[in-house]
């Protein structure tokens, strides 16, 4: 485990709430066995086959994967929002232009009718102009309302997308934390199992059934 991995692992363990347990997350089995309380050199040698050193590579890869996936998802959600806002902006622009064009055409027609004469006397020109203005105002209000609704929808979709991305990130990180916890539980459980088996601390010599005075050769010849 290099320095960078070590730092990343420490950060990951801290996030998982296992910062205090970081001493167990080591690739050195001998050190792990010592930390578990088996300090005798012989025990270290004997018990090393019952433990696995911790390899952070896959955990860190998984964390990176979660980060990358979250980045992709938030980016997609952001892009979708931008697209939606752009579309609304475009729709508003087009609608406004259309209204301006319609107003211009209405004014042109009124102008033509006035030029033919007699139009102003009846006051129809003014009425038509007012009606057209009301119509344009209504259309503009509709366009703005649609734009507001569209923006709201896009924002809701954005918030929902972000929430989904957060959820997925949380689920991913949760799985990594659970895997770390599982490894720790299994390792500590193994330590418990060995302690329950009343491990010896003595250096055995052939013929010594354990502890105390060994049976001497003389005794055997009796």
């Amino acid at each position: 485990m290099n320095e960078q991995q070590q730092q990343q692992l420490q950060a990951l363990l801290g996030q998982a709430g296992l910062g205090d347990m970081s001493k167990y997350f080591t690739g050195d089995v001998g050190s792990l066995i010592s930390t578990l309380g088996f300090t005798n050199q012989r025990q270290k040698e004997q018990f090393s086959k019952f433990f696995q050193g911790f390899d952070p590579t896959k955990y860190l890869q998984a964390e990176e994967e979660v980060g990358a996936r979250y980045g992709q998802q938030t980016s997609m959600v952001g892009d979708r929002l931008s697209d939606a806002l752009e579309k609304i902006k475009s729709q508003v622009g087009t609608g406004y232009e259309s209204l301006t064009e319609k107003g211009f055409q209405t004014e042109q027609k009124i102008g033509e009718m006035q030029a033919r004469g007699g139009f102003d006397k009846t006051g129809i020109g003014g009425k038509v102009r007012r009606k057209a203005a009301i119509g344009r105002e209504q259309s503009l209000r509709d366009i703005l309302e649609q734009a507001t609704t569209g923006t709201g929808t896009a924002q809701r979709q954005y918030a929902s997308g972000m929430l989904g991305a957060e959820k997925q990130r949380g689920a991913g990180m949760g799985s990594i934390y659970a895997a770390l916890q599982s490894w720790l539980n299994k390792t500590l459980g193994r330590g418990e199992n060995i302690f329950a088996l009343d491990p010896n601390q003595y250096q055995y010599t052939p013929g010594d059934p354990g502890g105390g005075l060994p049976i001497t050769q003389q005794d055997k010849l009796v």
Partner: protein, 206 residues
Amino acid sequence: MLEELLAQIQAQTSSGMSETGLELTKTAEGEQSALRKYFNLIRETGSEAETEDIGRKRRRSKFRLGGSLLGAIALTALTGGASAPHLAARLAAGAGGGSLLGSKYAQSTQPGGWRLKGVAGLAPTGMFFGAGREKAGGEARDLQRYLTEANKSFDEAQYANALTDAMSAYKLATLPKFGNLFKGKIPGEIIDDVPTDYSTEFLDLG
């Protein structure tokens, strides 16, 4: 893929732990079984030693009895018979010597050797069951001590027995009616060897 990585982590941890767990169970079971067998061996050796001890003592008793009788008769005959002086002392010496020789012979010809054998084979060693091993060690040492003491006392007892037999023979020979036992069975007149006052006593009793 994240799911793939998580599955790999899980697989790696589970399979590794299962494998080492199996190794641990196998080792612990093996050690426990060996220790149990060792306890049984200690018990069996103790029981066998007790039986052998009784057997060798019984066998020695026979040779001892035969030896002391033959010794007493032979020495008495070789040293002038029942009529010669100091019959009691000669009988005692013959019985004691014969007893010792009989015991020695019984000891030297004991099938499989006269010494009680200790626990055969080495005690199982291992990494677990420290208290159990200490207990096994204690029991094995107790047995060894018992066997050593039993062998020592068996070996030493033949001298004490010879002395006891000699004293018994002497006491028997000095009994007032002892002369009658050998009358007509051993060359020479035993009655002549009996002191006068005893003869008088015999006459009184007769």
